[in-house]
C-alpha cells in the first residue's frame, strides 16, 4: 500500500542527513558541471567556432549553446547516479535507515518513494544551479530554458529509480563504482554531449538513442534554444517516464526482498 503523504515523511530524514554531507555533493553536482561549461563551452567552443561549417553541423548554434544544455542533462545524470547508489547502499546495510523506517507506519513502497522524491529534489536543485550558470554564460536563448529543470528531473529519475535497485541489492560497496564506470562514463562519451550522435556509426547511434541521457539532451537543447514543442518533447518525456516507472517497480521489489524478515 502506498500513500504519498506517508511516503513524504521520510524526506525529513534525507534532508537532515544531507545537511551534514552537502559539501561532498558540490564537486560532482555543481563544480564539475560548471567547469565543464567553462572549459568545454567557452574554451573548446572558441576552437570549434573557427571550423567552417561547425555551426551547421551543431544544429545552427554556437558550441556553448550546443554543449551547455547537454551538461545540464549530465548534471542530472551524475547527481541521480550519486544519490541513487551510495546513500541507498548505506541505508540498506550500514546505517540501516530503511530497517528503522520499516518499524514505523511506513510501508516498503512508501520508503522507496520517499527516498526517490528526495533524489528528485537533489537533481532539481543541481540542474537549476547549472542551468542558471549556463544562462549567465549566454548559453540559453529563450524563457523555455526554465523548463530545463523539470525536464532534467525526468532525465535524472529515469536513471535513479532503477539504479537504486542495483545499489540496494549489493552486499559490498565496491561494486557501486561499476555503475559510474560502465553506465555513466560511456553515456557521457557516446550519448551526444560533446558532438552530435549523427557523426557516430549507425549501430552505435541506435544504442546511444536508447540511453536516458540522449533523450534528456534532446529535450534540453530544444528548451535552451526555445524551439521545443509539445509534440517534439512528448516522446522523450514518455520514454524517460517509462524508465522511471519500470525502475521504481524493480526497486520496490528489491526492497521488499531485502527488507523481508
Amino acid at each position: 500500500m502506498l500513500t504519498l503523504g506517508r511516503a513524504l515523511r521520510g524526506t525529513t530524514y534525507w534532508f537532515t542527513s544531507y545537511r551534514r554531507s552537502w559539501r561532498r555533493s558540490l564537486v560532482p553536482s555543481v563544480i564539475g558541471p560548471v567547469l565543464d561549461l567553462i572549459v568545454m563551452g567557452k574554451v573548446l567552443g572558441s576552437l570549434v567556432a573557427d571550423r567552417p561549417g561547425a555551426v551547421e553541423r551543431l544544429g545552427g548554434v554556437d558550441y556553448l549553446s550546443f554543449v551547455g544544455p547537454a551538461v545540464v542533462a549530465v548534471t542530472a545524470l551524475v547527481t541521480a547516479s550519486t544519490e541513487g547508489t551510495s546513500p541507498v547502499y548505506h541505508a540498506m546495510t550500514s546505517t540501516r535507515t530503511y530497517a528503522a523506517m520499516r518499524a514505523t507506519p511506513l510501508t516498503v513502497p512508501e520508503i522507496v518513494v520517499g527516498h526517490l522524491v528526495w533524489m528528485a529534489v537533489r537533481v532539481a536543485v543541481a540542474a537549476a544551479l547549472v542551468a542558471a550558470f549556463l544562462a549567465v554564460l549566454g548559453g540559453t536563448h529563450s524563457w523555455q530554458a526554465v523548463l530545463l529543470v523539470p525536464a532534467n528531473v525526468a532525465t535524472g529519475m529515469a536513471v535513479a529509480c532503477g539504479v537504486a535497485a542495483f545499489a540496494a541489492r549489493q552486499r559490498t560497496s565496491g561494486i557501486l563504482l561499476a555503475w559510474q564506470r560502465f553506465g555513466v562514463v560511456p553515456m557521457m562519451l557516446f550519448a551526444g554531449v560533446y558532438f552530435p550522435v549523427s557523426v557516430l556509426p549507425g549501430a552505435v547511434q541506435a544504442v546511444a538513442k536508447l540511453t536516458p541521457l540522449w533523450h534528456g539532451i534532446e529535450l534540453s537543447r530544444a528548451l535552451a534554444a526555445g524551439t521545443a514543442t509539445v509534440d517534439g518533447a512528448l516522446p522523450h518525456l514518455a520514454y524517460l517516464a517509462a524508465l522511471a516507472v519500470a525502475g521504481t517497480v524493480v526497486t520496490v521489489r528489491t526492497f521488499l526482498d531485502r527488507l523481508a524478515d
Binding site: T12, T16, R96, T104, P105, T107
Partner: protein, 323 residues
Amino acid sequence: MKCVPSQLDPLVEARGLRKAYGSFEAVRGIDFTIGRGEAFGLLGPNGAGKSSTMRMLAATSASSGGELRILGLDPARHGSEIRARLGVVPQDDTLDGELTVRENLLVYGRYFGLPRRAIRERTAELLEFAQLTARADDRVDQLSGGMRRRLTIARALINRPDIVLLDEPTTGLDPQARHVLWDRMYELRRDGVTLVITTHYMDEAEQLCDRLVIIDRGLIVAQGPPRALIAAHASREVIEVRHDGDRVVRKALDRLAEGAPGDGVPPPARVEALPDRALVYTDAGDETADHLYAQGVPPHHLYVRRSTLEDVFLLLSGRSLIE
C-alpha cells in the same frame, strides 16, 4: 496512568502461530496472549524462535500459519496501523550515527507523521527519561553503547506506543549500563506501558517480567510468572557441589541421588550430575548442606543458592550448546 493487567483485553493474541523460512520452521505453532500493562518475556536459547516471533509481533514479518491479532487488528491487512501504535527496540540499533541525539528523535517522530512541535516537546521528556538531556546535541556515534540503547528506547516511545517490543535490550552492555537500562524499563512498567521483552538473561526476565514463555526449537516449553515457573520446574534452592572426582564427595552425592540421605534430611527433588560437579535441587538447602558437611564434604566445595530461572531454563532446554 496506571493500567491493570487484564486477560479480557488482550493486546496480542497468538494461536498456532508459525513462521517458516523456506523449509526451516523457526516457529512451529505457539499460543500466547499479552494483556494490557503486562511485562511479557520471551525466553529461549539462540535460534529458539524468539526474534522471529518478535518480528511477527512488530508487524514487519508475515506469519506462515496460525492466527495473530495485535491491538485487535490483523497484521497482514493493517500492518501500518499496528506499527503506528508500537514502539520497537531492535536488537542491533538503527540509529544514525552522523546525526545528533535530537535529530534522531526528530526524523523518527516524522516517520509517524507527528508535527515538529509535538516532537520537540516529546523530545524534551524523552531525553530526560533516557538521561541524555546533556547529550542532546552530540552526534550519536560519540555515545557509549548504554547511551545508544537508552536513546533507542526513548526513540521507540516517541509515538506514545501501546506496546513496546524490546529485542534483547541489554545484550552486550556492561553491568552498570544494564542496571541503568533496567531502571528505565521498571519505570515504563510502573507507568503501565505494555512491554514485550526477549532475553536470554534469566535475572533480567525474573526481575522485569510479570509473565513469560520459554521457547525452545520453535515451541513453547513452559509459561507462567517467573516465580511460578521456578516453583513448578525447579526447587526452592540449589546446592552446587564440586567433587572433582573426590571419592568421599561422590559417595555423599550418590546417597543424596538415591533419595536416602538419612539424618532426617528431606530427600532432594533431583540431583543433576555434571562433569566434576553436581546440582542438588532441594527445598531444604541449609539442612542438606549441613548433612553434606557431616559426610565430609569440604565447605569450599559447596555453594547454596536460591534457584533461578536459569535453572528452569537449562532444565527445559538442555545443556548442550546451541550455535
